[in-house]
Symmetry: C2
Subunit: 379 residues, 2 copies
Amino acid sequence: MENFIIYNPTKLHFGDEVVENLGKETKSYGKKTLLLYGKGSVVRNGYYQQVVDQLNKSEIEIIEYAGIKSNPLISDVEAAAELGRKHQVDSIVALGGGSVIDSAKIVALCIPEALNAWAVMKYRVKTKEATPILAVLTLAATGTEMNGAAVVQNPETKEKIGHWNPLSYPKHSFLDPSFTATVPEDYTAYGVVDLIAHAFESYFGKGDSPLSDRFVVAVVEDAMEFGPKLLENLTDYDYRANIMLDATCALNGILSYGKAGGDWGVHSIGHTLSVLFDTPHGASLSIAYPAWMKLQKKNNPERLEKLAKQLFGSEDVDLLIQGMEEFFVKMKSPIRLNEIGIGDDKCEEFVELMIKNNVSGYNYQLSKENLREIVDFMK
Amino acid sequence: MENFIIYNPTKLHFGDEVVENLGKETKSYGKKTLLLYGKGSVVRNGYYQQVVDQLNKSEIEIIEYAGIKSNPLISDVEAAAELGRKHQVDSIVALGGGSVIDSAKIVALCIPEALNAWAVMKYRVKTKEATPILAVLTLAATGTEMNGAAVVQNPETKEKIGHWNPLSYPKHSFLDPSFTATVPEDYTAYGVVDLIAHAFESYFGKGDSPLSDRFVVAVVEDAMEFGPKLLENLTDYDYRANIMLDATCALNGILSYGKAGGDWGVHSIGHTLSVLFDTPHGASLSIAYPAWMKLQKKNNPERLEKLAKQLFGSEDVDLLIQGMEEFFVKMKSPIRLNEIGIGDDKCEEFVELMIKNNVSGYNYQLSKENLREIVDFMK
C-alpha cells in the first residue's frame, strides 16, 4: 500500500430540497455572488429560478455569467473571472454540471489576484487563494462537486486538459437528485459511463489497495445496476439519487485510498476526441475504454484479470471487455468511432494530436505505437 | 434514500513514518500540548519516544497525562481536562487506541469552558468549542481517528455511553501501520471484530442506500480476508495497513451515505457487558452480534437476507450467522458468554442492567423480552 492522505473539505448536502440551504451558506461568505451557468436549460427547467429565489431570500446580490459550453472554453473562464473581479464578488454559485463547476474552479483561482486562466490551467503561475465556490449540481457524472479537479479546453492550442488544486474543492455542494430529472437520455447515459470510467481510472492507478479495489467494484456494480433502470425511467427519484451518489463517490477520493492516484490515460485519449470532434465526454470514454483494455490485455493483463474476476466472476479479460461493451451498448453510448461519424480518414489526425499532446497514463505509459493500436481498436 | 450530509474535516495521514509530520501540525495550533496516553505499552514499544521526539523537534512544550484505561473512565477524562485547563494547552496529542482518542475528545470539549465531563457525555451542557486534537493511532479498531464519536464509561452510574459531536473530529490523525505491529493477538482480533460490527451497524441503520450496502460488504470482505492472515503474521506491514484502513472506513461516514445513521443496538448490548464484566469491546461484539441476528432472523429477516446474499451468496440467514460465528472463532474471539467466564447465574443481572439503561437500537427497537431472548442466544 502507498502512503496517502485523506482530506476532503467539501460539505455536501444530498437529497430532496437541499437547495433551501444555499442562501444561508452563500451569505456566510459575503453579500455579493457570481452566478455561473451554462445554456438556457437550467432556466427552462426552473432550477435557475429556484437558485435565484434562495439567493434573494438571503438578500444576496447576484452578478450573472451565462453561456458556459458543454466542453468548457478557456475564453468563457477568462470573461467570467474578469466580471467577478470587476464586481468584487465574495463567492461563486456554480449552477450546472461538470463544465460549469469546473469553469467556476478556475474562475475562483483567477479572481483574487487577476491571474491568467490558461496559465493557471498549465500550472505556470502560483495560486494562493480562491473565491469560495458553492455548487448546485444538475448532472451526475464528473464528481467535480466534491474534488479539486477541473477540465477546460483551449481551441487555439487544441488542448483539453485537467488542473488539480487543493484550493478548488467547493465549500458546499448541493445535490438534489430532482435537479437531474430533466437530463435527456443521452447525457444521462454519458454520465453513467463517465463515473464508471473514473472508477476504472482509480483501479488502474499505481499502488496495491485491496479495499479501494473493492470500493471501485461497489461503485461500478451500483452504476451497472441502476444505470439501465434509470434509462427506462428518467424521472425516478431513487434511481437518480443512486447514480448521483455513485458519481460523487467515483471521484471524491474514496476509490484511491492507499494508491498514488489514478491512471487517467483513457481520459486523456477521450479529451483528444472531444477537442477534435466535440464528442461528448462520456461518449468518448465508452469508445476509448474497451480499446485501451484490448491493448492492455496484450501488454499488462494482471489488473484486468483481477477486475474481470471481481466484476464478472472470471479472470477472463475478454469477458470483462465484452461485458463492458455490452453494458455501454445497453446504455446507448457508442463503442466505435464510426458510430459518432468519425471515419477511418480522420484517424491519422486523431493519432497525431495525441502524440503532439503527449497523451499517456500515469501508471500505464502509452507509446506512439500504443496510441495507434488503441485507435485501431476503436474502429 | 434518506437526505444526508457528507462532511468530514479530519486530515488523515496514512502510511510509513507519517508521524514525522506531527510536530509541524501540532505547532500550527500553538506551542503547548497535552499528551494523553494509556498504559505503559506505548512507552515500552517506543511509540511514545517517537512522538516526543517529533514534538521536541518542533519545540512543543509537553504536559503529560498517562493512565487512560482500556475501557476509559470519566474520572480520567475529568482529571486530564483539569490538567489541560490549568496549563492552558493549545492542543491535545492523543497517542493510543480508541480509549485514549475518545477520552481526548471529551477532554477537548471540557477544557475551553471548564465543563463537567459527564454532563458533556450526557448532552446536559452546550458545547461551543474544542481544543484541537491530533491523534496518533496505535490500534486499528474503533474508527475514532476520523469521526466525532467518543465512548466513555462511568462506574458510579454503571453506564458506558457514546457522545457524538461535530466539534470532536481530530484535526489531524496519523496512522502508521507499524504503530500497530505490537498489538497482541487477542486485541488485534478484537479490533477486526469491532470494525466489522461498525460496518454491520451501518448496514442495519435506517434508510435504503444500495451503494452504502455495497461499501459495507467491501469493508467486511476485506477484513474477513486480511484479519485471519494478520493473526498468522502479526507484524506484516501490508496486513496491518489493510486492517487499519478497513477500521477507519468502517466508521468515517462512508458506509452511511444515504442513510439516517446506524442502528447501534448491538453496541449498546456490548457496552453493558463491558461495564459489568470489563469485557473487551471487541469480545463483547463477537458474542452479541450473532445473538442479535438470531433474534432478528425471527422478527425482521429482510435485511439479514440481503446481507447473507451479498456476503455469502445465498439469502439463507442461517448461513450468514454460521459464517460470522465461524469467522469469529477463527479469529479466536468468543461467541458465547461462558467462554469469557460469565455463567448463567449472572445473566439476570446483565438483562436487568440493559433494561435499566434502555438498551435498544435506533432502527431495530429492542423490548425487554427481546433483550432476554438475545441473552439466551448468548449462552
